[in-house]
Subunit: 355 residues, 4 copies
């Protein structure tokens, strides 16, 4: 039995933690063992998406009741990475990562977490943030006992942004600053893992060929520090769980999606067979509207739509492709994949139960 | 060489017919041979989507200049089936169907067209419309020389609706009347083909188990009659083109999508290989947000989103799945699949060049 | 000094109660005296607007810390009426109503509150709800010490609805059920006040000439009972505050808006002069897109817009007109004015400081 | 009888010119006398609003039939200024300006038009465009016989933009380039009229205190040149029509709106009385979301809404205020008021029949 447990839970609305509450009540999850939460809420995914803050507040309220810790202390030690937007086939859900430190094993899937120092708006999208994230990634690796960069499967970061950036910020446009924050965090991951050895703040959003296939970044106003989760393989963890990641060359790269499931040991052909679906514990995907305005030569309309935000377009499309392979819609799909996977493409990460 | 030609053409905006104009100018398409157009414009796909009317007017202007016929006469004989909405990976494009009556063959893919009598708002979603469509389908089969219902691959209908239905209409809600129009047209197709032998107007939008896997219906205020295209196999047509259709059991039925490509003779595994992509001439798909609010047990959010119309959600998701198999985004995807394929699912139809 | 105090406070986001927290910290508001909150959050105002629930949870958390009561008890005695949607000139804000029972006066503006029994989905939009609301209005009048219906200025109700109504509900369409809930609550108010003496559940959404100019109803999934606030004049309350209400004949009835300010003793001509603006304590307005599709003979496009919900259209327009008279954008504007003011119109209520 | 006639006509959809066709058929308008059209269509007003192009094509088709001129020649001599977006109380309509050169008078309201040379994307938002517009304004003044800048009431410009600006453009972001185009055109107007004597391209979108209260600019991809209409007073025109313009200090400046009606000789108090409404021939307004994020100190949410474009917010609010004074919703309201009226505010222009 693994000492890392992953629970994929539905929510009826962004304030609904009843599924986790039930697991805690029944003793299936010990609240004190919860190390991180990654979730997908049904907001618009943009600056004015408050479903993320609502979920986080509701989660911390539940955990506070269960553990007796106060809300601020919990928020300061448990990364809660939320992405808004469940367009199309996607389904609101969250992944709860619990670690039983007592139960060890020879080697298995490991999770480590870390928080950077608070990152003021002035540091967002700058060298300061890149370095803060790189250090937090190394801290999280140490927390997990992961000793080599090549043993890391995925780093998930929740990076801060600012609703009304002041004159000291790199950009006064909050949407651009949000993108710079994701970019800097990706560079921080790439620096720690060696995937982007020489990225500087001038390269952010410019040199898109500098990217990591193992960095997945969300950004939101509801966090003030960079919150980092590292998944990888390490000694001392129990076997039983697998994880795989694969890049997508572009939005339509169905082969890339299938490859990620294969990397996690799942026989997708092309969809995961019904009998194997329960083995899928969690799926994360990042993608980006192709900036040239065309995919494989055919014009797309994601970037110039006054009614529908480009990221909502993107998540609906990418989410459906990934969900059609996974066999269900509880897939974490997040836009804003700057420097996370190939430009115009992205990446997919799958957590599964081993056979 | 087939006497039915299918041209898939890009548009830069809904009034851009320059790709067709160039083909006509170069003599590659003879304007007088154009029998029908099916296109996907970048509107919202709803009642207030005027990109369909704009494209149609622009098309008829071009054809009027090329043939000397006046606009009304052209609009009365050439079905122009447009669906608005190119969410996500979809790309604005149109299919031009041209028939060279002089060049015959032993047996091949055939196209026939017909217009019903004008359908007033009072008849929409009622027995009168069902029967008008059934007759028009039979007329279009006769036009194509298709003698048996089992030889029909797909019937595409553009059915009328009303922006401000009066008291004589079956529903005063224009969106509901639009759905009733699609439903009645599907029943008309099903009646003509024997797929829905006993459907009555009371069953419309109620008995969803009455459906045809070969009916694809759009509805819009820009037409006043039911415009019908029938595709199938008939004697006297040249070989060289294939067509295949397959139902989708639900929105995530990736196997169903792959099956449609296989039915058209394309080796999708799961995506159509790069070397075969040019053989794909046209792809049509219909789908529908699952009314129960869940897909395979996971809650979706398409039906209760105040910001984003359910059909925009649906097209973005379905379109991406189909495009990921087709290998490109010029796919005609249309929501509102009432009685067109299994409930909560839909259908995919592929036109291809034979090997 | 009045014993009813009204505080109009800004919020930076739907979870931001810092303005109220500061007042409590400084002793300017005693948490135990807070009787009700009415607020406008920056959501979309529809079924999937979770900013209301987020604000409510945040408010109750603050009050729980300040009073020691638990969250459920607070939610069960303090009506929190939120309306989502701050389109155009509107500004997110909330009104806090605090009552100092010790400080009495001869006669003045009074506030009473009451909660009905929980209203299951099966009772929404039916006689049961009408009667529950009527009783709660009488209870709230008694709570305020208002003895005569003509002394009531305004009744504000937050009525329940259901995200996924079951077969027992009057409508399976959650949006229609939401409208029925508002309608039934308006009838309940009208029954208690004598404004709609003979309304039955069959008249709901049908006989729009049955309305009250003193009923303002919101509906949301975040409440399970009908929460009622009654404002009026009663003995035992201190003078110093005024309130006025006036109907709007249609959306463009600028004279109606001005009349409401005059009724509250404010010299709007047409705008409230700068020197008098601080006297405006709170402004509430209800309105409705004209169902005929035209206002004063000119077609409007609120009802057929696939991209933008009709209520968002309405709030942006109505809010701007009212705010242009009030002189600022902290105006509570809520759509869905069925039976609240004249059909196609609505009503405006103004709370002010007396001279 | 004036020799300038203004007809305000409704449209049922963006391709509906039936109201004008009827006037031409009945001889009430001579097609050859039509000099310009200004209209408001029900699109989203953004880059992907194709209702403007659809209306223009439909108008030119009608005029081509009526005059025998070809479409390109008509489009090259008749400015057609369309703004998309009829949010809230606004109503789709168009103003047709016809001039009977034969019928002269001593002095009256005059109209002149001019087209600049085509403006390539590389010149948009640069000195070249400013100067082209300034010259076109002088040409249009000469066309009208207006000899002094102070006799000009309003200059309306339709300025070009680019859907996919190349590397030579001042900005690669089409939305920013659209704003630069409006700004440069406003500077051109200001240069010609002396309102912005020293504006340079570096001041565009930066020095917002450089503005003209008589410049109203729209921008769209459907034009390639700057199309200019100048309204003012000149000898040789018949009396009978009046026009007035007034700036709005901010979005809530109701007094400014009323002042514009007074300037046109209409007794608004605050609304135009019913008996005088027929005298209102046309109303134009420009406005802009306050960039600081607050109006009179209260936070607004127009600029950070992922679901609803800032200009749609703005038009709904401004349009309702202006329409509530005008007494009806056929008001041309256009966002993007950079350098057109005070920053954060805008302007209103009213055309009326003299008493």
């Amino acid at each position: 039995m693994p000492n890392l447990a992953i629970h994929r839970l539905p929510m009826a609305h962004p304030g609904d933690l009843s599924a986790l509450a039930a697991l805690i009540d029944r003793g299936e999850v010990r609240a004190a063992e919860i190390r991180a939460v990654i979730g997908k809420t049904e907001g618009n995914g943009g600056l004015n998406d408050f479903t993320r803050g609502y979920f986080t507040q509701s989660l911390m309220l539940l955990l506070s009741r269960a553990t007796g810790e106060d809300l601020a202390a919990l928020a300061g030690r448990i990364p809660c990475v939320l992405s808004g937007g469940t367009e199309g086939a996607l389904s609101p859900h969250y992944l709860v990562f619990a670690v039983d430190r007592a139960a060890a094993g020879p080697r298995g899937l490991a999770l480590g977490t870390a928080f950077s120092a608070p990152t003021p708006a002035a540091d967002i999208g700058r060298e300061a943030q890149i370095e803060l994230v790189a250090r937090a990634v190394r801290d999280a690796m140490a927390d997990a006992g992961i000793t080599r960069a090549e043993d890391v499967v995925l780093v998930q970061v929740k990076a801060p942004c600012a609703q009304a950036p002041g004159p000291e910020a790199r950009s006064g446009d909050p949407r651009l600053l949000m993108a710079l924050s994701r970019a800097a965090a990706a560079f921080g991951v790439g620096r720690a893992l060696g995937d982007i050895p020489d990225g500087t703040e001038d390269d952010l959003l410019r040199d898109l060929l500098k990217y990591s296939n193992r960095a997945s970044i969300s950004s939101g106003i509801e966090v003030t520090a960079n919150e980092v989760l590292v998944f990888g393989h390490a000694d001392g963890w129990a076997p039983g769980l697998t994880a795989g990641v694969a890049p997508m060359a572009d939005l339509l790269d169905l082969d890339g999606v299938v490859a990620a499931f294969h990397a996690a040991g799942l026989p997708a052909a092309p969809a995961v067979p019904v009998a194997q679906r329960a083995r899928v514990l969690g799926v994360l995907a990042k993608g980006e509207p192709e900036k040239s305005g065309a995919i494989r030569g055919a014009r797309h309309t994601m970037l110039g739509d006054t009614d529908l935000d480009a990221q909502r377009h993107l998540r609906g499309a990418l989410g459906a492709i990934v969900a059609s392979v996974a066999g269900q819609g509880q897939v974490f799909v997040s836009g804003g994949a700057e420097h996370q996977g190939p430009p115009g493409g992205g990446l997919v990460c799958v957590f599964a139960r081993a056979v």
